[in-house]
């Protein structure tokens, strides 16, 4: 998570430098066309949400046209959503398949390598949960490949129960921790 935040900060600084450059050129430079993806949302602007307010410049708007920087953004920031699993299960339900078909389209367009990590709730043993988490990640990878994503673009790993998203020992926390998560490798 630390790395992601640093990168976003770096991106912001880069954006500011670009902004200054654009202003100084008084708009006479013609920027190269950069692919943008409407489904990817507002790109850079989204990433400012997590940052302390004092470091967020209000004039960041113009760089939105740059589109998402797939190499430095976390996949969730350009629309790649996590999928969730039932207790002790690693098969994909209809909702997951819907999310994954959207993910497949974005990942193909992004062209970057993505790490699919499998996660489990805290119940059960560390070792079995590592195996179960990997089953979940591989199920997602296999489905994405079946939708035409290049297998070389997808790495899989498992953190088992060791990187929970939600704290707590209740059904809600458990449900949120049983997932396949998409991250930069």
């Amino acid at each position: 998570m630390n790395r992601g935040r640093i990168s976003r900060k770096a991106l912001l600084i880069a954006g500011l430098v670009l902004l200054v450059a654009l202003v100084s050129l008084a708009g006479c430079s013609k920027k190269a066309e950069v692919e943008t993806d409407p489904a990817a949302g507002t790109g850079v602007a989204d990433t400012t949400e997590d940052l302390p307010t004092e470091t967020v410049p209000e004039q960041v708007e113009p760089v939105v046209d740059e589109g998402p920087d797939y190499l430095t953004l976390d996949p969730k920031d350009y629309g790649v959503g996590d999928v969730y699993f039932a207790f002790d299960q690693y098969d994909l339900d209809d909702e997951s398949m819907g999310i994954l078909s959207n993910n497949a389209r974005i990942i193909k367009e992004a062209g970057v390598t993505i790490l699919v990590s499998g996660h489990c709730d805290e119940r059960g043993t560390v070792e079995y949960n590592l195996a179960l988490g990997e089953k979940r990640a591989r199920a997602v990878r296999d489905y994405l490949v079946s939708l035409g994503v290049s297998a070389s673009q997808l790495k899989v790993t498992s953190y088992g129960e060791s990187k929970p998203f939600a704290k707590g020992s209740d059904e809600d926390a458990w449900a949120r921790n049983r997932r396949a998560h998409f991250e930069r490798p």
Binding site: M1, L115, S117, E122, R123, G124, T125, V126, E127, Y128, L130, A131, L132, E134, K135, R138, K155, V156, T157, S158, Y159, S162, K163, E183, P185
Partner: protein
């Protein structure tokens, strides 16, 4: 032979014949641990205040530390009741006593005591006859005091029980939270906590080589799992094997010349034997199921491991060639993390019951299944045997956060080994 009879025989041997006869008696008889809570006779040992012959405060401190540690070691073995100094423990019937002397450094003892060795002489005597059974002399520096006391306690335990003491053994484990866990090591009595890794990654599932020199463990680099080995003499870490997917759950073979672990580069986790350099020797399992958590039998002939080929994780045994598969557990829908006891007669594992995981001990035949931890323990996981085959260390969140506990399977007593707010998991006890 029952434990009682065995101790009685040792006692007879000790009192009537010679030290060597007592040792032979202990070694020739396998330890049989009884699961009943019937009277377990302990030997009462009196520890007398050590005579400080010279050296002032430094020697007096050393004397107190030595007797405290030796007394604690004897208690923690489970074999003894210990009285500290005469008159303090009227209810005990002492059969042995430990006495000794401490001589300090000759010059300027109070100032240079920490840097100069003291001379410690320790005796084990019969009581009240006061026949000298064993004498040991040490010249430890201040920093060697704890290990010196543990060494002597081991000698006493060995002399009196025929079993090697475990007072110099250590527990390695994984501590941390939020995607970062580091390996730590702690003396078996909870002292001497030391951090071994600091790489901002998950470091999990450590296992000692039989000689205690190396610790194999699983970590991540750029999101990919690999098995590493840490040299405990210099702290250096080397990569052992890093195939695509999982590389974890390593268990050193008792001869130290190979390891067994789970690798998933073929699509799902299977059991493999590898060399300490990371070369695959043999794949032992073939199935579409999850096959993980291998543990060698003490002779290195068989393995117990987990497979969910029937739909739920259950324990199985195979031989070192992967043949002779037989299912070991039929009770419960989730049996995992099996570890073979040092004497080979028992297996400890974790079972899930409802939302909770509990520790179970049974004979290695699968009989006499006994749940050690009830609901007050909440989740108890990742068991590992002490070298004495009587104690187990495992992680439990009974206090709200996972900490390590040492459980005596003979007496059904326990003690907390690690403390603090960070979760401690996947402990492994050195041989």
């Amino acid at each position: 032979m029952s434990r009682n009879k065995k101790l009685l025989l040792i006692l007879v041997a000790v009192l009537s014949v010679s030290p060597t006869a007592a040792l032979a008696q202990g070694r020739n008889n396998e330890v049989v641990i009884e699961h009943t809570k019937t009277a377990f006779i302990k030997t009462d040992v009196l520890i007398s205040e050590l005579d400080v012959l010279s050296g002032g405060v430094a020697s007096a401190d050393a004397a107190n530390l030595m007797t405290d540690i030796i007394g604690n070691d004897l208690r923690l073995s489970g074999l003894f009741r210990v009285g500290m100094f005469e008159g303090e423990s009227d209810s005990l019937e002492f059969e042995f006593t430990i006495e000794g002397t401490v001589e300090g450094p000759l010059r300027d003892a109070d100032q240079t005591g920490e840097n100069a060795p003291v001379t410690i002489s320790l005796n084990l005597l019969s009581f009240p006859q006061r026949q000298l059974l064993m004498n040991k002399r040490y010249r430890p520096l201040h920093t060697q005091m704890r290990s010196t006391a543990h060494h002597f306690a081991n000698e006493v335990i060995h002399w009196l029980s025929g079993e090697p003491g475990m007072c110099l053994s250590r527990v390695v484990f994984s501590r941390g939270t939020g995607g970062r866990r580091d390996l730590y090591v702690v003396d078996y009595d909870g002292e001497g906590l030391l951090r071994l890794t600091a790489n901002r990654e998950l470091n999990l599932c450590p296992d000692w080589s039989p000689d205690g020199r190396e610790i194999a463990f699983t970590s991540y680099r750029n999101g990919q799992q690999a098995l590493f080995s840490l040299d405990t003499s210099n702290g250096k870490v080397r990569r052992v094997i890093g195939m695509e997917g999982l590389n974890y759950g390593a268990d050193w073979h008792p001869d130290g010349k190979e390891l067994v672990l789970a690798l998933s580069h073929g699509g799902n986790p299977e059991i493999y034997r590898i060399t300490p350099e990371g070369k695959i020797i043999k794949r032992l399992t073939v199935s579409k199921a999850i096959e993980i958590s291998p543990s060698w039998s003490p002779g290195g002939r068989d393995l117990v491991f987990t497979s969910d080929r029937t739909g739920t994780p259950q324990l199985y045994i195979i031989d070192s060639e992967g043949a002779g598969r037989r299912r070991l557990t039929f009770e419960g829908k989730y049996n995992e993390s099996a570890i073979w006891s040092p004497s080979g007669d028992q297996i400890v594992y974790a079972t899930r019951s409802g939302n909770y995981t509990q520790i179970v001990v049974m004979k290695s035949t699968g009989e006499d299944r006994r749940v050690l931890t009830d609901r007050r323990w909440r989740n108890s996981e990742d068991p590992s045997w002490a070298p004495d085959g009587r104690h187990i260390v495992f992680a439990s969140d009974r206090s709200g956060v996972f900490k390590l506990y040492v459980y005596d399977v003979v007496e059904d007593t326990f003690r907390q080994l690690t403390f603090g707010d960070n979760p401690d998991i996947t402990p492994a006890w050195s041989r």
